[in-house]
């Protein structure tokens, strides 16, 4: 089964003379266990593609399937639920809740969907151990280093056992060594679970970690 099947997706903003084409004829498939690096300069549309893949944006044309879900047919509420249950996001700069501990940050999605329970909590603790944050789980983001914060973000993204995890420039705020550590971690986590991943980056040093590299420029994917 493919984790992501994007067919001929087009995203435009505005109309007539002021129309901006962010994404044009984007076709991309990502297998269940694949890690794809999406490379392109700023303004190339990679963020748009990521957002559409994750159900954050709806395309103007084309179809998107994530696993069995035909998300282009979903309304806003259905998309919210979809993201909650089937997608993980790791944003540039971690974007953690500043007044929650690392552990609580992992449990945020469960809180928000009301699915809190012993199973969920155990999963959070396990993830924290795997990510090397067992001893930091009671610390809040201001008390964590940049690398630790990014790792918490990765843990959060994996909590709901997603089909697809989307990474937006995960290493841009980190130095080379830390960046490599994070990419390593991403790869092992993703591969170990059979989760697909798309990593958007403009840093070519990070591409060797991916199974495949896709280039995007001016809204179009390279063949």
């Amino acid at each position: 089964m493919t984790a992501l099947d994007m067919q001929d997706v087009r995203k435009t903003y505005g109309s007539g003379e002021n129309e901006v084409v962010a994404l044009d004829h984007a076709t991309l498939t990502v297998g269940d266990d694949e890690m794809v690096a999406l490379i392109g300069p700023s303004g190339s549309g990679k963020t748009t593609l990521l957002s559409i893949a994750g159900g954050l944006l709806s395309p103007t044309d084309g179809s998107v399937h994530v696993g069995p879900h035909a998300i282009t047919e979903y309304d806003r509420k259905a998309l919210t639920k979809f993201r909650r249950d089937f997608v993980g996001f790791v944003f540039q700069g971690a974007n953690l809740v500043p007044f929650l501990t690392a552990r609580e940050n992992l449990l945020v999605v469960a809180d928000v969907s009301g699915k809190r329970g012993r199973d969920v909590e155990r999963r959070a603790d396990t993830l924290l151990e795997e990510l090397g944050l067992g001893h930091r789980k009671k610390n809040t983001p201001p008390q964590l280093s940049g690398g630790e914060r990014q790792r918490v973000a990765i843990g959060r993204a994996l909590m709901n056992e997603p089909e697809l995890v989307l990474f937006d420039e995960p290493t841009s705020a980190l130095d080379t060594k830390l960046g490599e550590q994070v990419m390593d971690l991403i790869r092992s986590e993703v591969k170990g679970r059979g989760t697909a991943a798309i990593v958007v980056t403009h840093d070519t040093r990070m591409t060797p970690y991916a199974d495949r590299v896709v280039e995007i420029r001016d809204g179009r994917l390279a063949a």
């Binding site: 639920k81 945020v108 809180d111 937006d168």
Partner: protein, 366 residues
Amino acid sequence: MKLAWRELTRRPSRFVTAGAALTLIVLLLLALGGILDALVQSSTGLLKAQTAPLIVYSADSKGSIDRSRVTAEDRAAVEAVPGVHDASGLGLALLAGYLPGHTEPSNVAVFGYEAANLRVPAPPQPGEGYADRSLETDGLAIGETVELGTARIPVKVVGWVQDTNYNLQSGLWVDAATWRRALNANIPDAAVAPGTFQAILVTPEESTTPAQLETAIDAAVPAVNALTIPQAIAGIPGVAEQDSVFTSIIGVTFAVAGIVVALFFALLTIERVGLLGVLKAIGASSRTLAAGLTLQAILIAGGAIVLGSLLAVALAQVIPDAVPLTLTVGRFVFTAVGLIVAALIGSAISFRRIIRIDPASAVGGA
């Protein structure tokens, strides 16, 4: 929900502004309400204490007990009206009351009465009286004698009553003869003949309703005007105006509370727009986020109610005696409920903004 609670408990300082403003508003509301309740109570307490459903004044007194005079003949005429089960007299004299050991007199409303009511037992012996608790606060004790007016008519206190003040003056309930003596000796121009009272309280027979009897009495005895107790209360000069003025001010204050909440949460939402976007991106619905906001609004309002109430109670202890203030349970409840409603409405103003936050804004970096 948990998220909202955690933010409130872990970052209380950012909620302090709204909390402080709302606390002061609660204090303001309780002060306003307390003054209104005291004013209304002092004007209406006497009437509200009556068990008889009808009160009969002289026709020209315009519902003012001070100016009313019902003679013995008029009373007999009233009692002769079919449907009257019982009639008892009520007299009033506003006098200075000299307490033992005090040089400054207290303000006393002397009531001459013939039958027990909700708050006062049956009339005592001549020369004795039931005193309102406010006189105890002034320094009076049971068994002591109050001297009334320049003529120093003595009345021995044999028991306490409560909430029987008139015109902010402490009630002293005595039998008719004692009341007449105190009035005639001290205020000669208001002297009354034996048998004359300011008002007659009337209880109808089982078979007659108060409304029916009221009409019957008015028709049979043109010299008097019968009113039901609620009508009499409504007719007390000034009460309706006081009520409407204070109530509008209280209404405006509630509106301000709602706006404070709206303002504060609008600002808070703007400050947290990034966080809200991220939460939406990872699957929080607008409904969940809005519910969290509402929870915070209610909790802050609740805290303000508790703190404001404590301050109001403290205020009541230190305000000068000249300011009438009474804090009733009903007033606390009304204020609490009103504030919560205002907070709910205020927080709802931010809902649209929350709904409009685009989860896609989380992607793309700072």
